[in-house]
Symmetry: C2
Subunit: 205 residues, 2 copies
């Protein structure tokens, strides 16, 4: 791959991104309070000075990570969702499998989001923007669910997709958590089975 000559602003932007990558890894591994700016800078291959030249401090770096990267992951997930129900036979099974695979592939994501959640609980003003992020993700999920629900069941309460989106999201979060505690108790098929039960049970009630 050809190395490109970078302008001054591009170089700085690249440093910033590398620091954010490193921060994601270190915050996931050590937590917000447990991570040190020195370790993050070193993980990125820079010194403390470079970090402070790009961010106001540890808190600013963490918050930048929360708003910039959490959002990215979320739209990835949304794309995955949109793809899924092409499969003819067992849509839930395939969907559940994908959910589990995504979680297994990026092992940093769940601890990092737990850190975000804890930080937001402890800093109420931050929770407002965090909640807005989550509402966006739930809205994407709701759209996908609305299509699926309408497909099999012409008549349903108008708020059912929104409510199902919350439940599916909560279920997914909890399953990922449980899979880290005891993988055998939360096999990939169980994700799909749970979804199938949920949608079957919500139908025509």
């Amino acid at each position: 791959m050809a190395e490109k000559r970078l302008t001054r602003v591009e170089a700085k932007a690249r440093t910033r991104e590398q620091l954010l990558d490193a921060a994601a890894r270190v915050f996931a591994a050590k937590g917000f309070a447990g991570a040190s700016v020195e370790e993050i800078a070193a993980e990125a291959g820079f010194s403390i000075g470079a970090l402070y030249s790009n961010f106001a401090g540890k808190e600013d770096l963490f918050l930048a990570l929360m708003s910039e990267r959490a959002a990215t992951r979320i739209s990835d997930t949304a794309t995955t969702l949109a793809d899924w129900h092409d499969g003819a036979g067992q849509p839930w099974r395939a969907f559940g499998q994908q959910m589990a695979e995504v979680a297994d592939k990026d092992m940093d994501l769940a601890p990092l989001q737990a850190e975000f959640w804890l930080y937001a609980i402890r800093h109420p003003p931050v929770m407002a923007t965090f909640a807005e992020n989550v509402r966006h993700r739930l809205s994407d999920l709701e759209d996908v669910i609305a299509v699926e629900v309408a497909r099999e069941d012409g008549d349903y309460p108008e708020d059912l997709p929104a409510r199902l989106a919350v439940v599916v999201s909560a279920l997914f979060t909890g399953m990922v958590r449980q899979r880290r505690i005891d993988p055998e108790s939360a096999p990939p098929e169980l994700y799909g089975d749970a979804l199938r039960w949920l949608f079957r049970g919500a139908k025509n009630e």
Copy 2:
């Protein structure tokens, strides 16, 4: 209430309990790495010395809290579960309501358990005992679910209650999390509705 004269060992045990209570509050509020032993001791009304006389250090205090208090909460929950399905009309609704109420009542519990989970992920040997705790809770839940499933449906796969227990537990954890982000999106009724969908959908499949 009459003050009782305490023996030496009773006094020490009392100090220990007060330190554990304080630790639960401070660890929930600040996290493991963010909390200081000085603040925990002060919150309990003691000095640093008293803390070190009862625990080997911050880590030991945290682990004691994890094994002693997490277990207590769990058996409380199990008792709550056992009570629930006496109500004739809407068992799921009542159960969901109770789940939400318990979570709302003790606001420290969810952040503290998140701290335990993160700590266990970062200290694999600890995860083994944490997982054992969780398996116990799931086993209790499974027993309750098995009774309920058998009530309506004579013939079901033998592993269904165990699988449902994992799903219900994951759902509950995720809903509590979501309720802290955006309470309106996770009203108490939704807990019960989700359970009803789940059990309806798992029936006779």
